[in-house]
Structure formats: structure tokens, C-alpha cells
Point group: none
Chain length 176, copies 2
Amino acid sequence: MDKVKIPIKKIENPNKRQVCFSKRKMGIFKKASELSIMCGTEIAIIVFSSAGKAFTFGSPNIDFVVDKYQNISVHINDKKVHKSWRSEQQYNFILRELDAEKKHTEMLKIQEGNKQADSWWRRNIEDLELHQLREFNDSLKGLKERIVKVLQEKEPSDKVPNEIEAEQLLSTSYMG
Amino acid sequence: MDKVKIPIKKIENPNKRQVCFSKRKMGIFKKASELSIMCGTEIAIIVFSSAGKAFTFGSPNIDFVVDKYQNISVHINDKKVHKSWRSEQQYNFILRELDAEKKHTEMLKIQEGNKQADSWWRRNIEDLELHQLREFNDSLKGLKERIVKVLQEKEPSDKVPNEIEAEQLLSTSYMG
DNA sequence: ACATCTATTTATAATTT
DNA sequence: TAAATTATAAATAGATG
């Protein structure tokens, strides 16, 4: 009955892939825990799911081990130390740019919130039940992809500003 | 003949402990490799032996994943920003992440969201004119915020953000 | 979607080479 | 000291509830 094959290659079925990810991630964390207990070692594991969510394991804790590694890596490869000042300037510059961009986006949101008040689809979602809201929210994910696709087909140039806004709105993003 | 026991506690015999460490470390790294291949995930493992030597595994590479984690940590606990030696890593992370996000977007465009095909609001947007699509797209921004707001009001626990892709920078942590 | 079950594969502790 | 062997424990893919 149970045929069990074990091909180590990408699992295409999203459902099976998710199940496999969950089980194997748990298995690895368990093994890591056993290693730290049996051999008295420090261990850190960081996993980013394909959806971009972070899962971590750490013994004694994740940041202790990661910081220790970071310090070692800086001392081993000291080129990074010499670059650090310039890089910090660049990094701070980018941070300020991102911050300014966020504020700009906030202003745009506020402004257009006043403009388009009553489109057919813009109903009072406050009246929906929680599970309906969740379905709606889930469905937005797929819809967003179709919007982007259609926008591109109609105007294939890279001058589709709304595409970017749609990305900022709905896609998974770590940068805020 | 072969006695095989499995006590998960510290191995006192230094020789056996070293052998166990070597074998199990290899086993965990192998499992991690399989996970990244089969599930398309990014993973980093850092192990410090009891002698203080560092062993690492990373897919696509250790620093990419660690930097990504550090960046998230920074957003969660922004006191860490002040550590200047991390700045270059963060700067490099931003550049790589922007690139990765573009590729991610490309993948999303290709993938088809055909799960919830028949919701009342999910009409054939392909038939809309370009300017209508843009209005729709623009309006989604405000709508999303209202959804988030209502979801949080109805269920103020921390379960809600997980349902929203844009909120997935939250990380889950297991302590060993 | 989530837990449990089970056949099978995989990991590994002790031993041998 | 380390690599291969082997018997057994542990992990897990697929099925089931």
C-alpha cells in the first residue's frame, strides 16, 4: 500500500512541499537539540520558508550563537572591518531614503483615501464576519497577481507605476 | 551483538562524544541540504564544538541567510542598528534583497492563483480597460489597510498577522 | 488544514578493519 | 586515527481520520 520513494529534488506540489517542510524542519530542530545536549555544543539554525517566513532554533539561544559567528567572521575576514565606516554611511543613506519613501507613500495613501470613496467593490467590509474577511484577504493574494499580469499585457513597458504600488501593497516583503 | 541505546543526555566519554558530534553534525547538514532542495528554502546552521571551533552550513550560503536574519532582528529590536560592523552586511543585504524581491515578483507573476476562482468579487478583470484596472489597483491600497484594521479589531491576538502576506516578517523561535 | 498510523527509508552506536 | 560495517533506532512519505 505505502509506496515510499525518496527523490531529493524540488517538490512541485505546493501542498506536499509545505507538509514536507514542516515535518523536516521539526526533525532538524530536534536533531539539533539532541546534538547540543549530547555533545555540549552551541548551535543556531535559521530557516526561511519559500513564503519568506523565518524559523529559528538556537541553543543556548539563537542570537548568542549568531553574534559569536558574526564576530568570528569579522575577525577572520578583516577586509570587512576596513570597509565598515564607508558602508555605514551608505547604509544610513539608504535607510534615510527608505524612510522618506515610506512617508511619501503614507501621504499618497491618505490623499487618495479621500478621493475614491464609493467604487462598486469598495463596500463596508466592517460588516463582514471574520471568516469572510479572511477569505477576502486570502483571495487578494491571487487577484493581485492577475492584476499585475494584465497590466503588463496591456502596457508591456516598464512604465507601469501602479504595478510597483501593488507590489508594495500586497506582496511579501521584508523591507517594510 | 550490537548494543544500541539512545539516551539523550550528555556523553561523558570525550572520545565517544567527539565521534558522535562529527557524525550527527554531518547528518544535520545533510538533512538541511535536503530541506533546501526539496522545499526551496534558505537555511543556515552554525555549530560551535565544545572546543570552540565553528562549523557552518548555508544554502544558498551562510552569510546570505544570516544577514537576512540579522536584518529582521534589527527591525524587531532596533538597538542592534548601532553596531557599526554590521552595517556593511546590512547594506549588502539590502542590495541582494532588492534583487531577490524582483525575482520573487517575477515568479509570482508566472504562477497562477486559481484556487478561489468563484468569489463574488473575482470577476474577469482581463476585460476591464486599462484605466479601470488602474483605478482598481489604486483602490486596493486603501482597502487592504481597512481589512488589516478590521481584522485586528475583531481578533487582536497575534494570530491575525500571519494571515496577511505583508506581515510575514515575524519570526518564530524555538528554544532548545 | 491538522494529528495519527505504518511501511519503508535513513541515521547512527558499537564494532570491525 | 579514521573509514567501513551492521544491527537497530529514528525519521518520514503517504494514507487515513
